[in-house]
Each structure stands twice: as structure tokens, then as C-alpha cells.
Amino acid sequence: MVKVEDIKKEAKRILKEGKVKYIIGYKKSTNGLMSVPAFIESPEDVENLIWDPTCVYNLTRFLVDEKRRKAREKNPDERPVGIVVKGCDSRAIIVLLQEKFINRENIYVLGISCETTGVLDEKKLLKKLNGKKAEKVEYDEKDNFIITTLDGKSKVPADEILAERCLECRANFPVINDILFGEKVDRKLDNRFKSLEKIESLSKEKRWGFWKEQLDKCIRCYACRSVCPMCYCDECVVDTINFAVTADTTAEEKAQRIKWVEKSPTTSENFVYHFVRAIHLAGRCIDCGECERVCPMDIPLRFLNKKMEKEAKELFDYDAGFDPDQPSLVSCFKDEDPEDFIR
């Protein structure tokens, strides 16, 4: 695993030299184990930076905030923002660049390779420890995590508590960076859609039963949407009001806004919400797994996006997050796109 000291050194340098206005990275949370996003503004604060298997967040989501904040400022600081990214997160940057949502010169990317490991799934860890509190989790460079609890240390094979996405990660190194930490280590992966098969292999009615049960749990807190770096629309179909209104919008225009989805968390409405989200992320989701991680109701959202990822690959040979210059999945086509389903 990459040493945090190396990252700190670079962070200090770019802050001291004034190359960036601040750095988005990771620091310890108050619960003592997991990390939280850190916004480092001065070289002194760099000491708070950490890098360990608890750095799960996809911080690129905060580039969306940064853009909005900057748009509101009268005399914005034009220097780039430093951002720490893993392999998966770096693909989000590619998509944001591809969609011209951000500009390359506005970011300074501190890319970290996950090398032979990845990040933790906190829920899996909690289960593994039977609800006991972990104080520290370290990687032993030999495919194990060493977990420290009040009762001492124990060794757990990494696969058992790694995040699902890491188990299916095919590019665990930053595909874009201004400085790279760690080595590019190729992962062997026979099937990047393996976990999906569990659901695909069910019968149609079982699949329906599964999704109905899962999506019925949804309380529409929209954490899945809020945490996603690709869900940056100014206005979402599920919002109750038109954000695009200004003082000049007429009453008529406002009244004509279509209410596609009710606020009620009922089966039918929850499905529309999640359909819209899945489709809108097709060819854009880079599988950072954040939506699934944050869902308080433990809904396996990743499957929906993963399914779209798989179809994009199989039907259109399309991979999201590798090439900022390729057109996006649904704004291009090929003559030979499949049409056997069309009458």
C-alpha cells in the first residue's frame, strides 16, 4: 500500500507553492476507524491526511460542489483544486471531463494506485466482527487485513471484507493523474460481472420479487443520488420544484412542469426513480459503489448500474471512464448496433 508520507510531501509542496487552492483528501473520522473527506487548505493541515483501506469515498463528487461554488463567487480563485483519487475515482474524472463538466486545468490529480488491494466494506467488517468495534485496519501486503479491536489483533483474508467493487475492479490504478503514487499492478479478473449472475440467473418472477422487496425499502432520502459524482443535474425529475425558475418564469410555465414521480415512497414511484437513475447512469457510472455504500436501507443499487455497464459492454463494446475524448454512450451509435429486438 502507498505510504501516506509520500502523499503528504506532495500535498505540502503544492500548497506551499500555491499551486492549488485546497486539496480534497481523506482524514480520520470521529469514530476512530473510518475516514471522512478532508478539505486541506494550509500546509499545516496536511498532517491530517491519511491513506489506508478505509479511504472508501469517491471524492470527485466534491468537484461538482466546487464548480457550483465558484460560479457563485464574484472573484473566484482560479487556481486548480487538488484531489486524491483511486483508480475507480479517477474514472469519474474522465467522465466529468468527457462531458465537459469540468476542465482539466481546474484540477490537480493526486492519483493513488490500490496496487494489490482495495478498500474496505464497513458493513462486511462489522458483520465479520459481530458488531465489535474495530480500532484499526491495516493491509499486510499479503492479501490480508490485520484488524485491531480492543481484544487484540486478528488476520482476515482481504477478499472477505473488501468492497464488492474492488473484488470486481479491473483498473485499480488512476487512469488520469498529475502525480502518481504507487505502482500500476494489473489485476487478474476472469469475470468483472460475476456478482450480477446471482440475479440474472433467477427466473423472471424471482427477479421481480427480489427488486420489489429491495426497492420497497427505499425511503427516497436520495443519498444515492447525492453522493454520485455523475448525478450533477441542476434539476432532477424527482425534485418537487423547478430549480430552473427565475423571477421571469411565468406562472404558466411553472404550472406546466410535469410531475413525473410522486414523493410517496411507494413501489411504483420508487421504481420510476431508480429506473431513471440507472438509465441516466448507463455508460457514465464508473462503479465506485458509493450509492450502494451510503444507502441506509442496504439496497443493492450497484446491481442496477452494473447491469447497464454490462449491457453497454456487450451490446456496444463501450467502457465508461477511460477515454475523455470518446463520445458518450447514448450520444453516439454504430451502424452495426444490434437491432434483432426490433420488429
Binding site: K212, T267, V272, F275
Partner: protein
């Protein structure tokens, strides 16, 4: 049988081909089932997936998107975009367990009144045995 289930199909038809095709079927007095609620759109490429989800949400038993044949789109490429998008929507709906027969796409030109009636006939025939679509329907 008076109470046989009659499915309601929402059909998004592009103005230049499929809608014209359905008109042709109409003025030529071709016979076909009356289960369709046609909605004319400018182009199959202008059918947002949200329209489709919304149709099922509001109780459609089946949804059809129909446009010009490849190469014939009035806007040149709209139907190629639609083809991609619809393929994804279809996969998604099937993945959550909706019967695949309930969502279909067709190419119908302005001259293909006959084909239009056939598409509708087949559609109705295929979804009749499935009964009403209740999975995604708003429970009002």
C-alpha cells in the same frame, strides 16, 4: 366472452413515418385491434426513457416505440440513437422482472400501414395472456 382482458398499449410513433403509417392503416380501413393509445412524437429519437417508465407507471400494459427504418429518419440519425437507448431500457426492464413482451420497438414507414397493423396485432396477441401489467402501475 365480454370480460376478456383488453390490454392498453401506449405507442410512441414518430410523426414522419410510423404515425403516418398508422394513419394509412386508418384511411385504408385496415382492421386491427383498438387497444392502442397512439402518441405522436417528432422522432423515435425524442422518446425519453422517462416517457416509457411513466407509461408503465400510469398503467400501460404494453409500450411500443416506433420510428422510421434505419437510414430513413427525417432527422437522419434519430432512430439510431433511439435504437441504442431502447436496447438499454429493454434490458433494464427485463432485469427487474418485467415481461419482455410488454416493451417493444418497431420500424414502420409511412407506406407500411399493413406492417403497422401486424405489429399491433402481434403485440396484443402476445400480451393478452399476460394479463394486466400491475408490477409498475401506480396503485391509486
Amino acid at each position: 366472452m365480454t370480460d376478456e382482458f383488453e390490454p392498453r398499449i401506449v405507442a410512441f410513433l414518430c410523426k414522419w413515418c410510423s404515425s403516418a403509417g398508422s394513419d394509412l392503416a386508418g384511411v385504408s380501413r385496415m382492421e386491427y385491434p383498438s387497444n392502442v393509445l397512439p402518441i405522436t412524437v417528432m422522432c423515435s429519437g425524442s422518446v425519453s426513457p422517462l416517457y416509457i417508465f411513466s407509461a408503465f407507471n400510469k398503467g400501460a400494459d404494453g409500450v411500443l416505440v416506433s420510428g422510421c427504418h434505419p437510414g430513413d429518419c427525417h432527422y437522419l440519425k434519430g432512430n439510431y440513437y433511439a435504437r441504442r437507448r431502447i436496447a438499454l431500457v429493454k434490458k433494464l426492464l427485463e432485469f427487474i422482472g418485467l415481461e419482455p413482451q410488454r416493451f417493444q420497438m418497431s420500424w414502420v414507414s409511412a407506406a407500411e400501414g399493413k406492417k403497422y397493423t401486424q405489429v399491433i396485432k402481434d403485440f396484443v396477441k402476445e400480451i393478452k395472456p399476460l394479463g394486466p401489467q400491475t408490477k409498475l402501475r401506480r396503485n391509486q
